[in-house]
């Protein structure tokens, strides 16, 4: 049996607001195995993005335990979490998040350089070739289209050879056709590198491409639906 690379136990997130405490996540239990691809879906405001942030060690939970590659993130400070991120995690974001002052090549080199590794140039160039931007290596983000920028971001995400790749609405800012191209590229590289993929999305097609879907509603994990129930709920929604 493959081992769990990400696990969450009774994870809660509560924030203080002017009108009192607001519960965003309420006792989430999740386990994601090595090599698995998982989509986290849910309505706006359901807490799925917050969950992604906590699983990836970008944010801290108010309670519960989060373990990523044997590292107990919930017990770590930001300094230690950053080291775990640098070593094991890759990210793809909805708004690309490339550094505007660096070229495509330099953006892809960044995670490897931050880790202090050498040979970053060659790796970066190979990855850019793979995502079809071999001729755009010296271009700055502002000289590229949204789809091209997302391809650079994907190349960057794989540059550090991550164990887990987290993606937040990776096609959210793109048109349907470009979105499809990007998601194909994402899954292709994911297979090639044997990465575990966790993505948050509204895109049904993208979610269906994953092996498993976790639905979040009002801060809780909904039980998996049968195919019939899914059809029913779709019809209800249409009527």
């Amino acid at each position: 049996m493959s081992r769990a690379v990400v696990s969450a136990e009774k994870v809660a997130k509560v924030v203080a607001t002017a009108t009192g405490e607001l519960v965003i996540l309420d006792g989430i239990d999740i386990e994601i195995n090595e090599g698995e691809s998982v989509a986290i879906v849910g309505a706006s405001g359901s807490g799925k993005t917050t969950l992604l942030g906590i699983l990836a060690g970008l944010d801290t939970a108010s309670g519960g335990t989060v373990i990523l590659m044997d590292a107990v993130l919930s017990d770590m400070d930001e300094e230690a979490r950053a080291l775990v991120r640098g070593q094991h995690i890759g990210f793809v974001f909805q708004s690309f998040q490339l550094l505007a002052s660096l070229t495509a090549r330099e953006n892809v080199m960044l995670p490897v350089e931050l880790r202090g590794d050498t040979l970053a140039v060659e790796q970066a160039e190979q990855l850019l070739e793979k995502v079809g931007l071999g001729d755009r290596m010296d271009h700055y983000p502002r000289q590229m289209s949204g789809g091209e920028q997302q391809r650079v971001a994907i190349a960057r995400a794989f540059a550090s050879r991550p164990t887990v790749l987290f993606a937040d609405e990776p096609t959210g800012n793109l048109d349907t056709r470009t979105g499809e191209m990007i998601s194909d590229l994402l899954f292709e590289l994911n297979r090639e590198f044997g990465t575990t993929l966790v993505l948050v999305t509204h895109d049904k097609r993208l979610a269906q491409s994953c092996q498993r879907t976790i639905t979040i509603a009002a801060g809780r994990v909904e039980p998996p639906q049968t195919e019939a129930a899914e059809v029913l709920s779709t019809e209800t929604a249409l009527s």
Binding site: G53, E79, A82, G86, Q97, A100, E106, E113, S160
Partner: protein
């Protein structure tokens, strides 16, 4: 982060303009301090050299007794140059004529600083010489030639010695000093003094040991010698209070100017660092998701700051040096002495300023970047915990303090400057806030561009209050500098007006008055008869012999005795530059015998109101009661009297009169005509002294103007930095208005109106602040009177509105003209 990556990020930031303002602000801080201190350093040295000529030496030891040989030996062992001079009044004779002169006997080597100017024809331009009168010969002032009817080669009797007149003495460097010391000069060799036999116990002698050499050796000598009230150590500040106080004020001003320049540049550094940090929040978020630890972020951005700091310091030092060389070139014609090479201090000061500015003003913003949450990359709305105000302000305040105290070396100046700034910030923060509230009510009835602007101002009330304060502070500091400069310059100019009387005539008898007056009217500009003068001395105080009275005081009085003969005068009203500190001035019609005495004179001899003084005037006795005590402005170039009588007490005594007139340099021959016609009168030339003072004032003025220009530049930087810092929020709103259908005209008009109102309010704040600070500085630091400046009440707000609208609108214009989509996308 690794060095290569840091360097690359820093370089890209510089190239993309993100760092531009921070870099320029740092360069200006370093450049301002370097150029000002380089210039001040060299100018001070030059001024000290120039002023040293007032002493004819670097220092003097002045005494009424012969200088002990041990003093000279001590000076010699320290490698100091030294020469002795002796000044005494003496009656000299040439045939039938005689004249009271001020004899100065000197040794070879005199003067140690400055030069002697001699000539071969009286009243002609002379030439410098490095010799002194040979034994057996004397050099005479031009005016003594007609007065005594002598020519070069004629004999003249000084005491028992007969000496030959060999040259005309045109100028000597240490002629200055108090007004009545300026008798006609006879210069002779010290070796001839014993033969004259005029130096007797009780003679009025003034010995001076002139010293020149290294400053530290001079200071060490001062410590080593047993100096007391009899042997006074004299530097230029004591010997020439006029020059001394001009130098003090100029130094204070230059320091103040430099300090304000640094403060403004510091504010610009802080503002641009905060903007840089704000624009890098997302950047840091991404780096963190990619595995950068807070520690790495901190090291990385401090590395960037360090690099920017190093570049700025190098550029600033270079710019400062170039600027100062340019200034020296421009001033080469006014500064006669060659400027000594600058030391290392100005450069060290400049570099340290850059470092302190970077650490105190920029670093808090950079350090704060480590706290950016990586979550920000997926949740843009996630706010950043505001930088702890205490950390930020505390660091800036500490930085200011270190810079100010170190730079001015004056806790006093630092205190008043900071007091002004803090008081103004506190009071006018509230005022600005209230002004903005008022703005909204006006806006309700305004046209739409105005309404848009005013509602924007109102919505961002906190930010705008801060911005008004910063604008206001910048404009205030500039106003302070302009006002202080104007006050200083007019103060200096009033001391030596261009057409001030530069010649005084004394010993005019009553029957000569009309004739002398007519001659002066015909040959020079008209002068008024100022004061009758009567020679007299104090006989008794409250019935006690003056000599016994003084002995009872049991203290040494330097140079003067109560029984010395003095110039007395009478007057209906107190002279212009005299201030009563005790008692009351007599009524104009008073026939009582009253007397007013000078404050220090009263203190020296323990005289108080109500004391009765008995005088001997030409053998006749008269008594008068002390009814007032006055303070004098010894700096003013007008005759000053220790003792002034009420008209009733002195009117019956025969007096001589004194007058003054202005004579341009090229008309000096007129003195020959005047003195030939009236050989018994005494003419005192102070034109050389006035010229010397004017030259120094001119140099200092130039320096003051330069500092002002530099600070103006810093002030503009602050304005630009502040506008830049608030630009994004403002532009985003206006871009949104345009997408919703607002015309370019509406948005442009509203932006202009917003800056106009901000500038107007900032101007009002600045005027209030400037008046308070200037009043404090003038009374506490510069010792000038304080008065309001009505003209700035209009000028301040208008200038504020015009400059801020121009800079603000100018720097936002390109964004108004670009399509709103581009603007919104660029801001994302």
């Amino acid at each position: 982060m690794r060095g290569g990556l840091i360097a690359r990020l820093a370089w890209r930031d510089i190239r993309s303009g993100e760092m531009g303002l921070l870099l320029v602000a740092l360069v200006v801080a370093v450049g301002t301090v370097t150029s000002i201190s380089l210039f001040v350093d060299r100018l001070q040295n030059a001024l000290v050299e120039e002023s040293a000529t007032f002493l004819a030496a670097d220092r003097q030891i002045s005494s009424s007794e012969a200088t002990p040989d041990a003093f000279r030996a001590a000076a010699a062992t320290r490698g100091l140059q030294h020469v002795q001079t002796l000044v005494f009044p003496s009656m000299v004779f040439a045939g039938e004529r005689n004249q009271l002169v001020s004899v100065k006997a000197v040794e070879t080597g005199y003067p140690l600083r400055g030069e002697l100017i001699v000539g071969d024809v009286p009243f002609a331009r002379g030439y410098p010489t490095d010799s002194v009168p040979a034994p057996g010969s004397v050099w005479l002032d031009s005016r003594l030639f007609p007065a005594m009817g002598v020519a070069l080669g004629d004999p003249i009797e000084v005491g028992l010695a007969e000496l030959t007149v060999t040259r005309v003495l045109v100028a000597e460097p240490d002629r200055g000093g108090s007004f009545f010391d300026l008798g006609p000069r006879l210069l002779m060799n010290l070796a001839d003094v014993p033969a004259t036999e005029v130096v007797q116990p009780g003679s009025r002698l003034s010995y001076r040991l002139l010293l020149a050499g290294a400053a530290d050796e001079l200071a060490a000598l001062k410590e080593a010698l047993p100096l007391n009230r009899n042997f006074r150590w004299v530097s230029v500040r004591e010997s020439s209070p006029r020059i001394g106080s001009a130098l003090d004020r100029a130094e204070s001003f230059l320091l103040l100017g430099g300090l304000l320049g640094v403060l403004l540049a510091g504010v610009a550094v802080g503002l641009s660092a905060h903007r840089y940090a704000q624009r890098h929040f997302d950047h840091v978020g991404v780096l963190k998701t990619l595995g950068a630890t807070p520690q790495q972020i901190l090291q990385g951005f401090l590395g960037i700051l360090l690099m920017i700091g190093a570049i700025a310091i190098a550029l600033g030092l270079a710019a400062g040096s170039i600027l100062h060389i340019a200034i020296v070139e421009v001033l080469a014609s006014v500064i006669p002495v060659s400027l000594p090479a600058p030391g290392a201090r100005p450069f060290a000061l400049g570099a340290m300023t850059g470092l302190i500015c970077a650490i105190a003003f920029a670093m808090p913003a950079f350090v704060h970047l480590r706290n950016v949450s990586p979550m920000r990359v997926i949740r843009r709305d996630l706010g950043i915990a505001p930088l702890s105000r205490w950390v930020s302000y505390g660091a800036a305040f500490a930085g200011f303090m270190v810079l100010l105290v170190w730079y001015t070396k004056s806790a006093f100046l630092t205190f008043w400057t900071l007091f002004g700034i803090i008081a103004v910030s506190a009071v006018f923060g509230g005022l600005a806030f209230m002004l903005l509230r008022g703005g909204r009510m006006m806006g309700m009835q305004a046209k739409s561009a105005w309404r848009l602007a005013l509602s924007g101002l109102q919505r961002r009330r906190n930010e705008n209050t801060a911005q008004i304060l910063i604008f206001g502070l910048a404009i205030m500091l500039l106003l302070v500098l302009v006002l202080i400069r104007t006050a200083l310059l007019s103060e200096w100019r009033s001391q030596v007006p261009d057409n001030a009387a530069n010649h005084f005539v004394m010993n005019v008898t009553a029957d000569q008055v009309d004739g002398v007056q007519a001659t002066i009217d015909a040959g020079a500009s008209r002068g008024d008869f100022l004061y009758p003068t009567i020679r007299g001395r104090v006989l008794t105080v409250n019935g006690i012999e003056a000599k016994a009275w003084q002995q009872a005081l049991q203290r040494e009085i330097q140079g003067t005795r109560l029984t010395s003969e003095r110039n007395l005068t009478w007057s209906i009203a107190p002279p212009d530059n005299n201030k009563l500190v005790a008692g009351e001035w007599w009524a104009p019609a008073s026939s009582a015998a009253e007397v007013s005495i000078e404050k220090e004179y009263a203190e020296d001899f323990d005289l108080t109101l109500g004391d009765v003084l008995e005088f001997d005037i030409g053998g006749q006795r008269t008594t008068a009661t002390v009814t007032s005590i006055r303070e004098l402005e010894w700096e003013s170039l007008s005759p000053n009297f220790f003792i002034i009588f009420s008209p009733g007490a002195l009117q019956q005594f025969p007096a001589t009169y004194m007058t003054s007139f202005y004579l341009p340099k090229e008309n000096k021959q007129f003195l020959n005509r005047l003195l030939s016609a009236y050989p018994t009168i005494t003419v005192i030339e102070i034109d050389a002294v006035i010229e010397q003072v004017q030259r120094i004032v001119d140099q200092v003025t130039q320096a003051v103007e330069l500092v002002l220009a530099l600070v103006l530049f810093s002030g503009c930087l602050v304005l630009i930095a502040s506008i830049q810092a608030s630009r994004d929020g403002r532009i985003a709103e206006h871009a949104l208005v345009r997408t919703l259908g607002g015309t370019r005209q509406l948005v442009g008009g509203s932006l202009a109106a917003e800056f106009l109102v901000l500038g107007l309010f900032a101007g009002i704040v600045a005027v209030f602040g400037a008046e308070v600070t200037v009043a404090l500085l003038q009374t506490q630091v510069f010792e000038l009177g304080a008065e309001p400046h009505p003209w700035i009440w209009l000028l301040g707000p208008v200038v504020g509105a015009v400059i801020i609208t121009a800079v603000g609108y100018g720097s936002s214009r390109s964004l108004i003209d670009s399509p709103p989509m581009l603007v919104l996308r660029g801001l994302n």
